[in-house]
C-alpha cells in the first residue's frame, strides 16, 4: 500500500502541470516579425462618432496595444470593465449612453500601454445606433463632466 501511494504521489507530481492546461492554454502564437512590427507605434484609440445625443451607441477601436492582454476601460475615471486585445494588439468595444447624462466623457484604455479618446453627449447631436458588434459597456448616470467654454479676449 505504501508503495502504491508513493507511485501515485510521483505520478501526481509529474502530471500536475497538465491540470493547468484549461487555465493557461497551449502555445498558439510564436515568434514572427509581424507580431512585433508595431512595437514603436504608440497605442491609440479611435471613436466612430465624437459626439451624439444621449441614448447613442459608439464604437471604440484601439490599436498597437500588447497582443492578447486584458485592458481596463474607464470613462471619466469610472471603471466600465475589461476587454481583451487580439493577437495583433487591436481591440474593439461599444459604449451605450442610454442611462448617461449629457456632457463630456474621457474614455481611457489602460493595459501595458494607455490611450484615450473622448466623446460628448449633446441633446442636439444626432442619435447613433450600434454599428458594430462587440463587448458593450454602459455609461452610468452621474459621471458626466460639464465643460464650460470661457470667452477668449484678444487684445
Amino acid at each position: 500500500m505504501k508503495n502504491i501511494i508513493r507511485i501515485l504521489i510521483a505520478m501526481g507530481v509529474f502530471f500536475s502541470g497538465v491540470l493547468l492546461v484549461p487555465a493557461m492554454g497551449l502555445p498558439r502564437v510564436g515568434f514572427n516579425w509581424q507580431r512585433y512590427a508595431g512595437v514603436y507605434n504608440p497605442a491609440s484609440l479611435e471613436i466612430n462618432h465624437p459626439s451624439g445625443s444621449p441614448g447613442s451607441y459608439f464604437t471604440v477601436t484601439g490599436s498597437n496595444f500588447s497582443p492578447e492582454t486584458t485592458v481596463s476601460v474607464s470613462a471619466n475615471g469610472f471603471v466600465l470593465g475589461e476587454v481583451d486585445t487580439t493577437e495583433t494588439g487591436d481591440l474593439l468595444f461599444l459604449i451605450s449612453s442610454t442611462d448617461a447624462d449629457a456632457g463630456f466623457y474621457m474614455i481611457e484604455v489602460i493595459g501595458n500601454e494607455a490611450a484615450a479618446t473622448q466623446l460628448i453627449l449633446d441633446p442636439d447631436a444626432p442619435l447613433w445606433t450600434a454599428e458594430d458588434e462587440g463587448p458593450l459597456f454602459s455609461l452610468p448616470a452621474g459621471i458626466a463632466q460639464q465643460v464650460l467654454f470661457m470667452p477668449v479676449i484678444v487684445k
Binding site: N3, I7, M24, L26, R28, F31, N41, N48, P67
Partner: protein
C-alpha cells in the same frame, strides 16, 4: 579502449580476404561506436536537424536584419552593442552557404543546438539519466520561443549557449576548484558580458556560489590571476566597439540623426560613450517599469508563458526539481534559483512589447530543474519497490515524456516553421523597386533595417537613403520631411498625424510616398477612397 577485431587469425584464415577485411572494418566501427558519446551527439544534432528543417531561408526582419547587416559589414548596433556577436558574425557570415541572411539564421540554429548540448552536459554533471534528460531538453528545444529564436538571426541563443557554458564551468569548478577551471568561469563570464549585458544578472548567484563553495581556493592568488586572465580575455571583445567606431562603418546605429539629417555617432572611444551603449541607457526608461498590481499581472503573464513553453507537463517536475536540488546541494540550488529569479524578474519588470522573446535564460534553468525533478521521481519510485507496479509506473512516465516532447514538436512545428518565410526580403525589395532615384526612406524596425541589408550587403540601390525612425526625434523627422518633400522623393512606413494638414501620403507598396497638399490631388489620401476614417497607422 581496444579497436582491434575480436576474431582470431585461425577463425579468419579460411575466409576470403575481402570478407576478413569487411569484418575487421565492422568491428572497428563497433569499437568506435562504443567510444562515441551518443547522448551528447543526439543533444546537438537532433535539435539542429529540426532547426535546419524549419530555418528561415533568407534575411528576417526587425532585429535580425539589423544584426545581420551589422555583422556582415563590421558595423555597430544600438544598445547594448553586442560586440561578441558582431565579431563572430563577421567571420560566420563569410561561410559559403545560402545568402548572408541565411548564414546568420544558421548561426542562431547552431547556438540553439549548442545550448542543448551544454545543458545536457550540465544534467550529466548533476547525475540526471537519459530519459529525464531527453524529456527536459526535448521540451526546452521544442518550446515555442527557444525554437523560433533558433531560426532567425538573433542574440538570444548565443546568450543561452554562453550561459549554459558558464553554469557548467561553475559546477565543474565547484567539483574541483582548480585555477584552470576558474579561468574558464572568468572567460565565459567575460564573453557573456561582451555579448549581452543580461549576463550581469547571473553575477550575484555565481559569486555567492563560489564564495560559499570554496572560499579559500577562490581567493588564492593563482585562482584570482586565472579568473582575471579569463575575464579580461572574454571582455576583450568589447574592443570591437571603439575599433569599429574609428573605422567609421557604413552601418551604425549607435548615435542619432539631427534635423539636417546628419548622423551624429556616439563616440565609442570614450568611456562615457562606451558606457552609454553597453549599459543600455537608451532603454533605461523601460526598466523597472511596473509596480503593485501591474507587476503582479506581468508576473502572471510570465508564469503562463513558462507553462506553455514546457507544454504544461514541465511545471510539476520543474518545481519539484528546484526543491530537490536545493535540498541535495543548497549551493547549486541557490545559484540556479537566484539566476532564475534575477533573469525572469528583470524582464517581468521590463516594459517592452517583445519581452516574451527575452525569457530564454529562465527557460534554460527551468529545463535543468525539469531534468532533476523527473530523475528524482524515477529514482524515488525505483527505491520503493521492484515489482511490476513500479516498472509500469516508470514506463508510464518515460512514455509520457517521449509523448509530450513529440506532441510539443508536432504542435509547435506549424507555428514556428519559417522555412517558407520570404516576407522580409519581399518587403524590402518591394520598397526599393518602387522608390525613385535619390529617395529618402523613413521607417521603423520592420522597414529600414531590411532596406539597409539589401543596400549594404547585397549592393542594391545605393542611391536611396534609409533612416530608422528610432534614430531621429519626432520633431527632427517632421522638420526634415517638410524641408525635403519638395526636393526629393520621401517615403515613410506610417504617417505622422501632425503632418496631415500639410502633406498627403499615397500608398506605394509597403510604404507611403509623401507629397505637399498642393502638389497632389486630395483623393490620394490613404483610406479616403474607402469611405472609412483615414488610418494612418498601419
Amino acid at each position: 579502449m581496444s579497436i582491434e577485431p575480436r576474431q582470431s587469425t585461425a577463425e579468419t584464415t579460411s575466409l576470403p580476404a575481402a570478407i576478413v577485411a569487411s569484418l575487421k572494418g565492422l568491428d572497428s566501427i563497433r569499437s568506435i561506436a562504443r567510444m562515441v558519446d551518443w547522448r551528447s551527439l543526439a543533444a546537438f544534432f537532433v535539435p539542429l536537424a529540426v532547426y535546419l528543417r524549419t530555418l528561415a531561408p533568407t534575411i528576417y526582419n526587425l532585429d535580425s536584419a539589423e544584426l545581420t547587416t551589422a555583422a556582415y559589414t563590421g558595423g555597430l548596433m544600438r544598445a547594448t552593442g553586442y560586440p561578441l556577436y558582431l565579431s563572430i558574425g563577421y567571420l560566420w557570415s563569410r561561410l559559403p552557404l545560402g545568402d548572408v541572411g541565411y548564414r546568420m539564421n544558421l548561426f542562431s540554429a547552431v547556438c540553439g543546438a549548442l545550448t542543448i548540448l551544454l545543458a545536457e552536459r550540465i544534467l550529466r554533471h548533476l547525475k540526471v539519466g537519459n530519459w529525464a534528460t531527453f524529456g527536459a531538453l526535448g521540451l526546452l528545444a521544442s518550446s515555442l520561443f527557444f525554437w523560433g529564436l533558433s531560426l532567425v538571426a538573433e542574440v538570444y541563443t548565443l546568450h543561452t549557449a554562453l550561459m549554459a557554458g558558464f553554469i557548467l564551468a561553475l559546477l565543474r569548478w565547484g567539483e574541483r576548484p582548480e585555477p584552470r577551471r576558474i579561468a574558464w568561469v572568468g572567460l565565459l563570464a567575460g564573453m557573456g558580458l561582451a555579448h549581452h549585458a543580461a549576463m550581469a544578472l547571473l553575477g550575484p548567484a555565481a559569486v555567492l556560489f563560489m564564495v560559499t563553495s570554496h572560499p579559500r581556493q577562490l581567493f588564492s592568488p593563482r585562482s584570482i590571476l586565472a579568473a582575471l586572465a579569463g575575464l579580461l580575455l572574454g571582455l576583450s571583445f568589447y574592443l570591437y566597439l571603439p575599433l569599429r567606431f574609428l573605422a567609421g562603418p557604413a552601418f551604425n546605429y549607435a548615435g542619432t540623426y539631427d534635423a539636417s539629417l546628419q548622423f551624429i555617432p556616439v563616440n565609442l572611444t570614450t568611456l562615457e560613450g562606451l558606457w552609454w551603449l553597453v549599459s543600455g541607457q537608451a532603454f533605461s526608461g523601460a526598466m523597472m517599469a511596473y509596480s503593485g498590481l501591474d507587476l503582479w499581472r506581468e508576473a502572471q503573464a510570465f508564469l503562463v508563458q513558462l507553462g506553455r513553453a514546457f507544454f504544461a507537463i514541465g511545471l510539476g517536475p520543474g518545481i519539484f526539481g528546484a526543491a530537490v536540488l536545493l535540498r541535495r546541494n543548497w549551493r547549486q540550488g541557490l545559484m540556479l534559483g537566484l539566476m532564475f529569479a534575477f533573469s525572469a524578474g528583470f524582464y517581468i519588470n521590463y516594459r517592452v512589447m517583445d519581452k516574451d522573446t527575452m525569457y530564454l535564460p529562465a527557460y534554460l534553468i527551468w529545463a535543468l530543474w525539469v531534468g532533476i525533478g523527473t530523475q528524482e521521481l524515477l529514482d524515488w519510485m525505483r527505491q520503493s519497490t521492484t515489482d511490476a507496479k513500479h516498472r509500469f509506473a516508470e514506463l508510464v512516465i518515460k512514455v509520457s515524456m517521449i509523448g509530450f516532447v513529440l506532441l510539443a514538436v508536432t504542435w509547435n512545428w506549424r507555428i514556428v516553421d519559417m522555412s517558407a518565410d520570404w516576407t522580409t526580403r519581399t518587403r524590402g525589395e518591394a520598397i526599393l523597386a518602387r522608390a525613385e532615384t535619390g529617395g529618402l526612406v523613413f521607417g521603423w524596425w520592420d522597414t529600414v533595417p531590411v532596406v539597409q541589408y539589401l543596400q549594404l550587403v547585397e549592393g542594391q540601390r545605393p542611391d536611396i537613403k534609409a533612416v530608422n525612425r528610432f534614430l531621429i526625434s519626432g520633431s527632427d523627422l517632421e522638420y526634415v520631411i517638410k524641408k525635403e518633400v519638395s526636393n526629393r522623393p520621401i517615403y515613410i512606413d506610417s504617417f505622422p498625424k501632425s503632418l496631415a494638414t500639410k502633406l498627403i501620403a499615397r500608398p506605394m507598396g509597403p510604404v507611403y510616398r509623401l507629397a505637399g497638399r498642393s502638389a497632389v490631388q486630395p483623393a490620394a489620401t490613404p483610406g479616403s477612397n474607402s469611405g472609412a476614417p483615414a488610418r494612418w497607422q498601419r
